[in-house]
Amino acid sequence: MGKKYATPLLDELKKGAFPSFVTEIEKAAEKTEYARDLLGLLEQSYREKLTHWKHGGIVGVRGYGGGVIGRYSDLPDKYPGVAHFHTVRVNQPSGFYYTTAALREVMGIWDKYGSGLTNMHGSTGDMVLLGTNTESLEAIFAELSSRGWDLGGSGSAMRTPSCCLGKSRCEWACIDTMALTNEITQHFQDEMHRPAFPYKFKFKVAGCAVDCIASIARADMSIIGTWKGDIGIKQDEVANYSKTMDIQKEIIDMCPTGCMTYTGGKLSIDNSNCNRCMHCIAQMTKALSPGPERGATILLGSKAPIVTGALMSWVIVPFIKLEPPYEEFFELVGKIWEWWDEHGKNRERIGELIERMGFPTFLKGVELTPHPAMIKSPRRDPFFFWDEEDIQR
């Protein structure tokens, strides 16, 4: 099947060293009318500098309020193949590991019912099947779920949790990110598939402060692995690094707390002043390792700039052991959601709600104890609230 449309602008994006998405769409266009018409529509967008997609609508699989993003072209007569071009979010396995058998299975289903185009993966973490029609949705869901695959989240729901690969291949992981992510996902299936929150809620789990999953920037709840106790040091490996690295300049001088010294070929760390930033460990991974008591810091609130500016998550629990069955963790999540449900306005993220109601009010509402690790500095204004019990009557 040849090309349906001339695409001179898109053809420019087939040139160059990096793999081309246009080539990918063309490969799918060998197989599907969706992809053939997508090329035509996209070329028109490139010509006009204008998107040709409309808002979603009522579309999904029976019983679920999420997992499918409705998408319709505003030029259905001209490009009938993409009149409907809905997205199916398939919940990825933790850590994005696949066997080829599993991938072939999902791709086989997708070739049967969809455009043959995917995103591996979407921003939230799902395997994204890009472009199908309303009639195919139930069939896709039956084929997927009968083989052990479920949909991810969308709308005002818990979104598909995701994580870095953690202990599966990383020596720095302080928590089992993949196990916890899988556990959160399974524990809150109802909250994921049946949107009942004021707005979206994302979890991202990072094994250490390097935060390869960018949890601090894009998760309503960011879980970041860390430790207590002394950083492990192998002095013989330090000596090996000294042959290829200027330890004074690259490690000691770059330590943000100045808690390290390197004299007479011996590396020392004043662990009580270490803030666990990971720079030294990341640069000397054979010589240094995170301390013995492992757990995580929980931070809350990050989101993109809509509506009143981007937020990064801030500390609400300085340290928590995160081991099965994660009772303390799930209890905390329950309290946070209840507080949000009670006070949150329509489309208000948890971070925005805390800003509106006040961080101390939130802490009281979810029964957390104030701790200096929660703030960069104490307040500088003299305007604060007291409780009734603080007042003499």
């Binding site: 009522i58 029976r62 019983g63 309020g65 409705g70 709308g155 049946r194 449900d341």
Partner: protein, 72 residues
């Protein structure tokens, strides 16, 4: 608790709301607990789930998730 009567109440609520103020699932639960004796958030949730499974009601998305009657 009679879940069928809660289901009826939810459908009536959504029918009423159509074309006026769209209701989010959370709004539905709050309203049902308020007006229906014996209703709790949990059984209202269970009732809505049954209605969704049966296709009596559907979820919609307009920058947030809402409960609506299915399109005719």
């Amino acid at each position: 608790m009679d879940i069928e009567s809660i289901k009826k109440e939810i459908v009536a609520l959504i029918e009423e709301s159509m074309g006026k103020k769209k209701l989010k699932p959370g709004d539905v639960f709050k309203k049902i607990v308020e007006i229906h004796p014996g209703a709790t958030k949990d059984n209202a949730k269970a009732a809505l789930r049954e209605l969704m499974d049966a296709g009596t009601l559907v979820y919609s998305y307009k920058g947030g998730s809402y409960v609506e009657m299915p399109p005719k």
